[in-house]
């Protein structure tokens, strides 16, 4: 330690200063491992390898498909029938839903409670859901009981009894279910939107309310079932650890006598999109906040339009990192949430924005939402934003299908619309190929800029903020009431 700096007038040795400096650096910078400071880089994403969809047809026209999953000793079975809500007669919306709800309510020699008990005996669960284009009867059970499950399904489809008491029970349940939903502003907003968008189209039937239940009856049910529940109008999907050969053999044993019949159906034509901005309001006086639902139909040339449309939705409002949420909630503080979704029907898509906002920010929220729609319709999405959206969708896709319910639901849609590999095993590839121009093209040829806007909340509180618009007032059932002219309030 002979090196000193005293001769230069410094009071302490250079080594002392270096030591102090090292101590400071040690406590402030080096007290944690370097790798903790920044997020690590991701590894390459493994390939998406989904089981193949194998199909065969029975002699009566029923198409049977299997998707082999060996992870659990459970089989999930789904009967798709092309008898969605758009097939209900104009005079009886809700009939398709009612029919699907009645399937498990009685068969020859089997009461509704006996069917329930048998399903539970095989560790099973039964459900039905009705979409605009098709209905799905779903049945999940322990794999040892495939024969029992098919036997019950066969009896329900081939020998239904639709007991009158069960008809009354199901009608009552539908009535009270719909009545209960009338207090949900999100449900009321969406139903009103669909009713307006599909006013002149068979899809209007999906927006039915509880008043229709008084017209639902056994005769209409029988006639609808007889007409549409036919093997040549249906597809059966089985997901589980089984081969196509086994599936076809067993299904054939229980469903081969299901009689086919020619069904006269017309292809659902695309609806006319809304062409001028329309603002509607539904009065729910007890609501403290305002719920905004904005939407319009999107005309799809083919099912490949699904991918750019899904990316468009993701950029606009698919997640908390999307434009709507970042603008209306994070930046402006108007909204509790602001998201968009896109749904795909056979004849069109529908883009819907839903937001819950502060009442005094209702005007600004609508304006900003329309601005965001205008922006995505008139400007090409920047590359970095597009890549972020695609990365989210690619990362999120397997997450959605890892839940059996969504897995089945996606397969049902793929089979019902005959979507093909691009929507299943090639999802990553299909999504990665989307360019900003593809998204712009979808936005450009859609009428997104002239949507229907439905506000649900306390009309007396909200209408003063909306004087710049002609306001069409609807009741919670979706029926038009009257118009509040521009400049007037309720």
């Amino acid at each position: 330690m002979s090196v000193t700096v005293r001769s230069r007038g410094y009071p302490f040795s250079l080594w002392f200063y270096l030591l102090i400096l090292l101590c400071i650096l040690n406590t402030s910078l080096f007290s944690q491992e370097r790798f903790r400071r920044n997020p690590p880089f991701p590894d390459p994403l493994p390939e998406l390898t989904l089981p193949e969809i194998e199909s065969a047809s029975l002699s009566n026209g029923l198409e049977v498909s299997i998707i082999r999953r060996q992870d659990l000793p459970v089989i999930s079975m789904h009967l798709i029938v092309y008898a969605g809500e758009s097939f209900s007669p104009d005079t009886l919306p809700g009939l398709a839903t009612f029919t699907a709800n009645m399937v498990n309510k009685g068969a020859v020699g089997l009461s509704s409670s006996r069917i329930t008990e048998t399903i539970e005996t095989i560790g099973g669960e039964f459900s039905s859901e009705t979409h605009p284009d098709y209905s799905v009867i779903s049945f999940t059970f322990l794999e040892d009981y495939l024969d029992t499950a098919l036997e019950i399904l066969g009896k329900m489809i081939l020998q239904p009894t639709f007991p009158r008491i069960e008809v009354r029970n199901v009608v009552r349940t539908m009535h009270y279910d719909l009545l209960g939903r009338k207090s949900s502003p999100a449900f009321v907003g969406r139903r009103t939107l669909l009713r307006i968008l599909f006013e002149e189209h068979p899809y209007r039937n999906i927006a039915f309310n509880e008043t229709v239940t008084r017209n639902l009856n056994r005769d209409e049910l029988l006639s609808f079932f007889e007409k549409y529940y036919r093997p040549n109008n249906a597809k059966l999907i089985l997901i589980g650890n089984l081969t196509l050969r086994t599936a076809v053999r067993k299904v054939s044993r229980y469903l081969n006598t299901w009689e086919n019949k020619d069904i006269e159906t017309e292809d659902t034509y695309p609806p006319q999109p809304n062409e001028t901005l329309k603002l509607c309001i539904v009065d729910l006086p007890e609501e403290e906040d305002a719920t905004i639902t904005i939407g319009n139909t999107i005309l799809l040339r083919d099912y490949d339009d699904y991918f750019p449309t899904t990316v468009l939705n993701q950029v606009l409002g698919g997640s908390p990192h999307s434009r709507l949420f970042m603008n209306l909630r994070e930046s402006k503080g108007y909204a509790y949430f602001a998201f968009s979704t896109v749904e795909y029907f056979k004849a069109c898509g529908i883009l819907t924005i839903q937001e819950r906002v502060r009442p005094n920010a209702i005007f600004e929220s609508i304006t900003e939402s329309l601005n965001e729609i205008r922006r995505i319709s008139s400007q090409v999405v920047p590359d970095y934003e597009l890549e972020q959206a695609k990365s989210y969708l690619i990362g999120n896709f397997p997450l959605r299908i890892e839940v059996l319910e969504y897995y089945s639901s996606r397969l049902a849609a793929i089979q019902a619309f005959e979507l093909g590999e691009a929507h299943w095993n090639s999802y990553y590839k299909s999504m990665m190929l989307i360019s900003p121009e593809n998204v712009y093209e979808i936005a450009r040829r859609s009428s997104l800029q002239s949507p229907v806007v439905v506000v649900v909340g306390n009309i007396q509180e909200l209408s003063p903020y909306l004087q710049e618009f002609d306001l069409q007032v609807y009741d919670p059932n979706g029926e038009f009431q009257y118009t509040i002219k521009k400049g007037e309030t309720e």
């Binding site: 790798f35 903790r36 992870d71 908390p320 990362g395």
Partner: protein, 445 residues
Amino acid sequence: MSIFRNKSFIFCMSSLFLFGGILLRAQEDESPLFEVTTFQLENGLQVILSEDYSLPLVSVVLAYNVGSINEPPKKTGLAYMLENLMFQGSRNIGSMQHIHFISKIGGVLNAVTTEGRTIFYQTVPASQLALVLWLESDRMISLDIHPSKVKRTRDSLIEEIKQRKLDDPYFESSVLFDQLLYPNKAYSHPVIGSETDLREMTTEDVQDFYTKYYIPNNAVLCITGNFEKRKAIQLVREYFNTIRPGKPVPFFPAEEHLKSEEIVRNVENYLAPYPGFYLGYRISSPDSPDNYTLAIIEYILLHGKSSRLQKRMIYEDRFASHLSGGIELKKNLATFKFFIKNNTETLRGRSQKSILDEIDKLKSDFISENELNKAKNMFKRDYLDQFTPLADKGIFLVKFHLSQKNKSNFLEELKKYLAVTPSDIIGIVNRYFTEERVVLNIKIK
């Protein structure tokens, strides 16, 4: 760094054997549903790995063996507060950035606090395993417990309590029922805590609780999904091995139910729209073999529309508009609860009689083979359902590991439930469903 990693890996591989290298497999005559590897780091962190290549996803579950039962007297709500604070930033991660990082890549995350555990879980694309381990390790090593964050969280939890009371008009009566059923206060307060205790809570209280319990030697990390085992072990060691262990966690004293006479109380509920009641029995400890039979009894009575009580009370007699319940496990204690809502006060009495009738039948009559098989198959289905999605599987494995059953095979465990006989049911119902029940009647005002 590379040398360090290599050394880590050598240690890990040896630790697989040193700590038992438990491979939870089914018996040789059955193909295993999935394999599990467990090991322990030097700092006490227990690690479970289970590969599943069906989808390009990975799920990370980190469970701390702490819950509301561990809260000191008059400090209720601490565990739930810590769960909330865990998302509000640590040394290298800003407030709410944990959520941002996960959701930005299409992942999902959540957390749950119970009486005995606090569990954080997230599922992300398989390429992002390191990101999740980075996030989880940072909040384990350096959670930022700043007074402003404690105050903000406290205010939001107090609001949540108020909202819970508004949303669930039966919330307060359920707390009262727990106080009757569990005389030990540690077991009976709600996880969300009390408004009074939260108002008095200090930053030091929160910091002390964090230092005491949110440490590697009180945690289990489980990774399930599409990963390469060797790489995962390397990453776990990189992010967690240098976290210092805390002091040994105090041993939680074993607790047994006290003997008591039947307790019947009434409560007038101003908010509840319908009358109803709670009925509870104090049963065996959670690790008792009696629980296999009790679980099947739960299915016979309550699960499915064709279960004895659902069928009788909801669909046939229509005495009740709501019926729920089952076994509740709280650390060292377990109870069997029923909660019923009725349309009228008269129906409440009839409902109670229906339940007691069905219990009496189980005490004396052998259950039919068909009915027993139905209950077992429903149980089996629910047991298997715990293995998907990946996060649920991780939570199942963590709970299994933390339970007394951690050395056995989970399919062997299932077989024990499926081996329950009609005689077992008669014996167990007579042992536990006695006159020493607790009843709380809810009367509406």
